[in-house]
Subunit: 283 residues, 2 copies
């Protein structure tokens, strides 16, 4: 599968991990209708305030996720892969400028690439409650909702993560509101075995057309087909793509260089010979 | 001014307090555009998560407001007024049923009426961020906003409360976002002097047409005209209204009983004589 990018121009890249996802919606209900915040405020639990409190409880101050058992199934990465990842010429400032955020941030003790490729997350995608137009309306809203998901790393399970978040939130909900945490969808995370004959063949094939040794990279996003193919066909899946950083994946003006189309096609052609030869030698 | 209600049928009521309000909007900005939560999640500070954390920081777990100096100007109530308030036949369960909430709640150590009439609040009126429609969209939102206000009690000042909240929030904002707390509008709280000649006259006038002694009540809402009248005319303001609980104030099907219109008119007519006689005796 070539639905991925090279780490940098001239550096062929084998994608060794994808994060999974567990997506859910949180609904908080309080009074049966919006109330006047003067006549009722202070004596009725506010669903918007409560939802904010529940969402805030999902993280510790150091960025670590505070949900009981959340990290239980997180598998350690091989130290040599981590070491190689730390040596990749990644530019935090260029990445920050790409996002437009005033600064980067995340779980303490990890580099940006580790945060993106090797660590799970819990992100709010949106929330809505009460009055949100111009000016002032002094309503005490009857409901509040949020969309959130966790990006997962091996061997976290989407439905188990949903159950853990659901338990965390419902246990902390105050009397005076009801809360529901609904599973919307999910996908398992994925890690390649970077030591088998397929990967050896891929390394040689890539090196035969690109000027540098291939590097192992991760990806923070999700490709649900990968685990499906592995499970259904019972065979390893190789991911090596030929896009370049800034190629606007899935966005307007997505592009790929002419040169990389040529080089990529030659590398894939070479892969079949290399893999056949690996299999012959290995058998 | 008769823009208030009686505590119960047959119990004439003098309104001795109104809460003020300080209304503001909180805007959090992070990345310059919404980002893919897989490709960026974990390494970029999420404005929605941050806004939730900042809103959650406004209260302690016991419902007390956690903003430095927030209670500094709160004036103690006279013990005899508080004692009379505790004796009013207020039915928490009826009030709860009226709201439709599963339970009441608020600042620890206070009754429902004290929470509504004598204590300041901090309520979220609404918030909005990112994706809030059906199903799933894995966006890391670039902005998040909330409307909130504090109901104030004497002698809290609307603009001072805004500055305190602004300081609380901006001090706690992480690098990776910018935050703005914009004052929208406000109104000072009000307390009547319940011991002067005007109040004595009102008590006698009300007792002359209703079957019970008048009670002193408070109100959680705001009537900006009251402080304006006092300041502009330099004279005390009396609030005694003749609506009944459940009269749907400001709502569809607002109503007042024929009997209370008659009794109220007679009480107000009596008030002028009583007040004139008070002034004669007092001078």
């Amino acid at each position: 599968i070539s639905d991925s990018a090279m780490f940098a121009a001239g550096i062929p890249s084998i994608l060794a991990s994808l994060r999974g996802v567990s997506y859910m919606q949180v609904d908080v209900c309080g009074p049966s209708a919006d109330l006047h915040s003067g006549s009722y405020g202070g004596a009725v639990i506010n669903p918007a305030t409560e939802l904010a409190r529940l969402l805030a409880s999902l993280h510790h101050d150091d960025g670590r996720i505070a949900v009981d058992g959340f990290y239980d199934r997180v598998r350690e990465w091989e130290p040599d892969i981590l070491a190689q990842m730390r040596e990749l010429p990644f530019d935090d400032e260029r990445f920050r400028a790409e996002t437009g955020a005033p600064a980067l941030g995340g779980e303490s003790g990890f580099t940006t690439l580790e945060r993106l490729w090797t660590r799970p997350t819990c992100d709010v995608h949106g929330f809505l409650s009460g009055y949100t137009s111009e000016g002032a309306k002094t309503v005490l809203p009857s409901t509040a909702m949020a969309k959130l998901s966790c990006r997962l790393v091996p061997d976290q399970e989407p439905r188990e993560i949903h159950r853990r978040i659901e338990k965390h939130i419902t246990q902390r909900a105050r009397r005076g509101i009801t809360v529901k945490v609904t599973y919307i969808n999910g996908c398992r995370p994925w890690r390649a075995d970077v030591r088998g004959p397929l990967l050896n063949a891929a390394r040689r094939a890539l090196l035969s057309v690109f000027p540098n040794e291939p590097v192992i990279v991760g990806e923070g996003g999700t490709l649900p087909i990968v685990t499906e193919l592995e499970q259904t066909l019972g065979t390893p899946v190789l991911l090596a793509g030929f896009g370049l950083p800034g190629h606007n994946a899935h966005a307007p003006n997505e592009w790929i260089s002419d040169e990389n189309i040529q080089l990529g096609a030659r590398a894939i052609a070479a892969l079949w010979d290399e893999y056949a030869s690996e299999k012959r030698n290995g058998s």
